[in-house]
């Protein structure tokens, strides 16, 4: 029997009250976590991920050291209570490994690894809560965590998911919608408009693909604004703290500032 929830009703509303092209509420928290060099918690709708970044630092394992650039390691951990059904996932779970590999390959061309030969950058992704759009939340949080660690990147990476209900495209799907619709995740670099990732797990008609692809690109720009605002306000707060004479808790403040300035210049 078909589900009794309408994905998109005749009034143009989705089951949670959003319209087709509306993204869920995003909350970005860039505050310090322990000894991490950079970290970010993104709450996108009811999906919540925490990404911490360590490095760049000297590579530990010789076998994995590259002499001309840094190595990026991604480790992912899905907490058992993150879904409605309590289930412990092994770290070696195929799906988790695949997600980690996807994140790694998304960021390798964006992070300027050549600046740090023979070193490594560790990214830890913790999934606290899941309600659709897991991959795009992880990617967005990783972007911000890398920025807050002061690691130079050529651009932001902004990801968003999109699906199609009959012939109407929808953006930023919840679990309920993901279970019902063919969908994909697209990650763009907003400044150049380049796409660093397209992930499809379901079959999608090629005409619909083009629609969603274009839409997701546009949605990336909207996300970019939101992410940039979070970075700026964090930097402003840190600068404000310095001016009142308090030392910022750990390094990275000026890295922030530089990044923001550079960012502003480059956006011309």
């Amino acid at each position: 029997m078909s589900s009794r929830v309408e994905i998109l009703n005749d009034g143009g509303y989705r089951s949670d009250g959003r319209r087709q092209y509306e993204l869920r509420d995003i909350d970005i928290d860039l505050s310090q976590q322990g000894t991490a060099d950079g970290c970010c918690t993104i709450t996108h709708g009811l999906t919540q991920v925490l990404v911490t970044v360590f490095g760049p630092k000297e590579a530990k394992m010789r076998s994995q050291t590259l002499h001309d650039r840094a190595v990026i390691n991604v480790e992912m951990n899905v907490l058992p209570f993150s879904t409605g059904e309590r289930r412990r996932r092994a770290r070696a779970d195929r799906r988790i490994l695949e997600l980690a590999a996807t994140i790694k390959s998304t960021f390798e061309p964006v992070v300027q690894t050549t600046l740090y030969p023979r070193s490594q950058i560790d990214i830890f992704v913790q999934v606290l809560q899941q309600d659709g759009g897991l991959l795009h939340a992880c990617i967005n949080a990783t972007t911000l965590a890398l920025i807050s660690a002061g690691i130079p990147m050529t651009d932001f990476v902004c990801a968003v998911s999109g699906g199609v209900h009959s012939t109407s495209p929808l953006l930023d799907l919840t679990t309920l919608e993901e279970n019902d619709l063919p969908h994909m995740t697209v990650a763009v670099m907003p400044r150049t408009g380049k796409v660093t990732l397209v992930a499809l797990e379901t079959r999608l008609h090629v005409d619909r693909f083009a629609d969603i692809f274009r839409l997701a690109g546009d949605a990336g720009q909207a996300l970019h604004k939101e992410m940039k605002r979070a970075v700026k306000s964090r930097a402003t707060r840190l600068v404000g703290a310095m001016e009142t004479g308090m030392k910022p808790p750990m390094g990275g403040a000026d890295a922030f500032e530089r990044d923001v300035v550079m960012e502003d210049k480059m956006s011309f």
Binding site: D16, D25, A222, L223
Partner: protein, 993 residues
Amino acid sequence: MVDITIRKRPRTEAVLTQRKFFKKTARGKVIKVLRERYLRDDVGCGIDGCSVCHDLRDFSLPSSGSSAHAQYPNGHFVLPDTNVFLAQMDLMESDLFNPPIILLQTVMEEVRHRSLPLYNRLKALIRAEDKRIWVFYNEYRSETAVIREEGESPNDRNDRGIRMATAWYKTHISLARPPVRGQPSRPSPTVVLLSDDVANRQKAEKEGLVSISVRKYVEALQDTSKLLDLLSAPGSDEVEPTRVASARQALYPDYLPMSTLGAGVKSGQLHQGHFNANQYNYLEGNVPVAAFDKPILLIGRENMNRAVQGDVVAVEVFSESEWKAPADEVVEQETTLRNDDADESEEENDDEEAIAERKVLQAERARREASVRQPTGRVVGIIKRNWRSYVCHIDSTSLTSSNTTSLSQQTVFATPVSRLLPRIRLRTRQAPALLGQKILVTIDRWDSTSRYPEGHFVRALGKVESKEAEQESLLLEFDIPYRPFGKAILDCLPPEGDHWVVPPKTADNPVWRDREDLRDLIICSIDPPGCQDIDDALHARTLPNGNIEAGVHIADVSHFVHPDNPMDSEAAARGTTVYLVDKRIDMLPALLGTNLCSLRPHVERLAFSVIWELTPEADIVNVRFTKSVIASKSAFTYEEAQIRKDDPKLDDDLTKSIRLLNSLAQKLKANRMAAGALNLASPEVKIQLDSSESSDPIDVEQKELRETNSLVEEFMLLANISVARKIEEAFPQTAVLRRHLPPPRSNFEKLQDILQKRKGLTLDVSSSRALADSLDKCLDPNEPAFNTLVRIMATRCMLSAEYFCSGSVARDTFGHYGLASSIYTHFTSPIRRYADVLVHRQLSAAIGYSSLHATLHSKSHVERVLDVVNRRHRMAQMAGRASVEFYVGLALKSRGKGKATTEEAFVIRTFRNGLAVYVSKLGIEGLVTFKRETQFDPDAYTMTVPAASPEAVGTTIAVFDKVTVEIEVEKDKNTQRGRVKMTLRSPVDSSTL
């Protein structure tokens, strides 16, 4: 670029914007579900000219409401509660009832949870052009969203939400009409909460809202008496207690609660299935269920426990010692319950009627050997009612006053036209005026204290036996959509109208893109006489290499009907064109069906062609599919084509082409028969109409079949099979195919037994091939029609063919049993069947002509569409048959000029007190009943009518015997329902029996 935004959700108000609940999965795991809700301020009120919601463009409510109600002089809007749609849908659908309606999302969702058919009617209502309904998404608007409070039932929460929305509208309207300086402030229209829930009304009034019951509301409208009849029978939840309700004793056992039913069905203690009433015996019904080979038999009123034809019921099976054989007696409701009083205030317990019924049931049932026994059981609950509106007649004897000027309310019986339904009790003030009319009645409820279901009058269809009333009642009875096409649909037609022509062939014309120019081919069409929607044409010619090129050209309907527009949706909902004797209800607007798509002769038309290269032995060398432009050279009738083919003097290309096609068709048919295809029969008669205008039948004749019928048929089958292979290969998940499952062997048991016992013939049903062979051997040298009769009876043992989506069933069940083909579809009649339109789209995509629309990639969408189409096809077939029956009746009347007609007939079934006979010349079945005792031998399928004098030997009549019957159409005295009455003339005269 569309506007992409990020919606903000205040996290502090999580109670309002988040919902947490627990859900149990099918495996029994409990899952915690967390959902968000985004509340917004841009949900419009839908009132024209609203100054607060001005940035929203959609409006459907007039700015000052409606002033048609005496109680609300300032104008008003109606805001109905859920119970209004659940109980009073007929009122809401009436043309006379059209106040501006505010429909809340809460109400829509509640209706959807309670009943999907009602929800679908509600959706149709929202779309209807003459209704003014605005859907207000109150759950998404920040001011009107409600959350369930601690200890509050979902019902109470919804009621509160409805009241909250009413209050919001009240303030919103006053905000939206700010007082204009210098002008007297205009009074604001009232928002009226329409509800039959007394508690909700009381609470609303306490909160300062205006509310009213449906009855009170309707009473103050114009046309009130017509509208009042549309109201459903008041339920027991009404505040005023009904006079004797409490004192009355239950006639039926109560239903078990829904949760118990669900658990019982799951654990296998109860069985779920559709209830089928027995058309010969109203005190018996059966429910086919998966657990037993034979359907579960329900004997008697208490065991059927208020189930109505088509309901999904839960049945408890009795222990095996109580299993019985089905009744062998004809029991008619009218005769047994003739004297029952419609007014329910009478005691309904141990009156005469109940005793009469019991006698019928107890009548010594010589329950036979174990092999014919069926499981018996009783209905313990209804899982889903499938009530709809029924066409009925008012029973004149149930009227207390037939004075036509009387407007007093009377309780009367309505007898449904269908023999499968119980009488319905209804209250009306129009009873005398409705006598002798066909009327539409809806069942509202059936209490355990009432012998009959209670319903209400919907509308009158017209005088009994007037063609309009009979026709409309037929369409309603089989649920056939027959409204004229609306404007939105007609707007999808080409703007040139009937001036549309195939554009001249140029390199850059999009119509000619990838189209083959076949205008020079010698193509012709062969159809029944008077055919206007010609969807197929053929050609054949010899190739230089000695092989033959044959082509089937089908109207290119998908060129005109684009996916997902209003015309396409309407065609999908109609599913098929319905052919009645004197009327055709088109699936597509006539401009397409009978003109632009019809492959008429001497004009250029767009086509979708299947072209084979065949060896002279009719083996396929290769096949190709192409969009094309053709110009048919001639449109033949079957008869003309036959004459032309047989005329030795003719030797032109067209004649040669027909001869070539015919010789190929004969070989194709031989191959098919060798593979085990069945040659089935169904009663086919043709009604001769006087002229197209008067449509008075003159006579009935049997359809004649010519060689050319078979010619066309063979090529259509070949085209369908070739196309089916192609689309299945291209779209293995969503191809639209057609299959015919092999019938379960038990279906044939009875027929096999009769044939064995009466004629000493055996029927081998092990495969379609074996069945075809043994059917060929079922011959009676003295009786050529016997073979046809057996074929008709065998056909009834089979399952019906159905459309399906290739990804939804196992690959090894694709086969078509009747045609003995491993794969099959419908491609050749896109003008009149919707499945063919889908197949055209898929084939077009498979050959790369166009891309496939997204909906045809979705398995669930294809399944949904095909479900509708399958149902429509069944209904259309039954309606067609019923229409023929009606005209046979008329023809009999006009033929006999008041006298009865005498015809030969075959006995097809024997009962304790009657015979079912089949009149092959008229294609109708009838019942002969005896009032006198007869000797009945169920095992030998015979009955013996005792002779008048005790010493003479009685006359024995058996199944397959040929008898002579007198047929007349008589009207039931009470209900005016016309029925065919048959009396036996030979071997014995039954009129005195």
